[in-house]
């Protein structure tokens, strides 16, 4: 459940940044396994300059998500990212807590 509705909420930030004319991408945790630090539905909002707000992992993989988000802003196509100890792909950043997460990154257009 996402109960946040205040000005500090990533979704409100995303709307505000768009209104300022910034390019914006939104990353969302859509699936977790094991001890993932942030629940399903959590958001990270990223702008075209790499500024960000919110959290998808409590700091473990944010850097990688931000880099991918900049690409998504450029291409306009959404991407699915997967992080975790069992992940054998190039995206092996690893969650220190031993969990795995899937993060959906899309442009706000």
């Amino acid at each position: 459940m996402n109960d946040m509705a205040g000005l500090d909420d990533p979704l409100s930030i995303a709307e505000g940044w768009k209104a300022e004319g910034r390019d914006v991408a939104l990353a969302t945790v859509i699936e977790t396994w094991g001890s993932a630090p942030r629940p399903v539905g959590s958001h990270l909002v990223i702008d075209g300059e790499g500024n960000f707000h919110g959290s998808v992992s409590g700091g473990c993989v944010e850097g990688a998500v931000i880099t991918e988000a900049m690409d998504v802003i450029g291409s306009g196509s959404p991407r699915m990212l997967e992080f975790g100890v069992a992940d054998e792909t190039a995206w092996r950043v690893g969650l220190s807590c031993g969990g795995r997460i899937r993060v959906y990154v899309e442009k706000v257009a």
Partner: protein, 231 residues
Amino acid sequence: MRIEILKQLNEAKRARRAVILVTDISNGEDRLAFEGDTLPGLPAEALTKAFLTGKSGLVELDGWSFFLNVHVPPPKIVVIGAVHISQALAVMAPAAGFDLEIIDPRTAFATPERFAGVTLTADWPEDVLKHRPLDAFTALVAVTHDPKIDDYPLVSALKTGCFYVGALGSRKTHAKRIDRLKEAGCSDAQIARISAPIGLDIGASSPGEIAVSILADIIQALRKRPIGAGA
């Protein structure tokens, strides 16, 4: 995500409406669903379950993957009456995830000493609710026994569609209350929604036990509220 959808989503959250953002993972298409809505390609039960549990997650069917991000407002309890039951309820409600506030115009009851750390307003409900109106995700609990204090918020809660409306009092007291609420313009269907005698029937005896029965009643009303197309 389309900016129009994002704006509607934020607006719904500010208005304390329950809403689900449904994203088709295969093509990025996004839609909003409010309680009672149906969306093509998605089983109604999936939306209903998500609204009731408040849990976000993936729904996979026939090769399609939908992500449901559920936004349910934090539920509140407004208690009319700064009595012993309210003291116990004020301790238990936060543990179950509810914000709670107490309203009672009787300054002898509504003292900060009796309700440390609780949002407490020593004023008439009609004056307080003008500034902080009830809504669908608020439970109204009227426990003063005094029609002058209880009746206005009860009528207000029924007309607003609070997910829970409970009133303390015997069946005889409630029968008289029904007459007054009808005079105040409440329909039979609205009046039938009042939980009276208040709380689940667990034989509660002490104020603390009655608070447990009320809280359980509220949780049941929230988690089993009627959601369905056209509801």
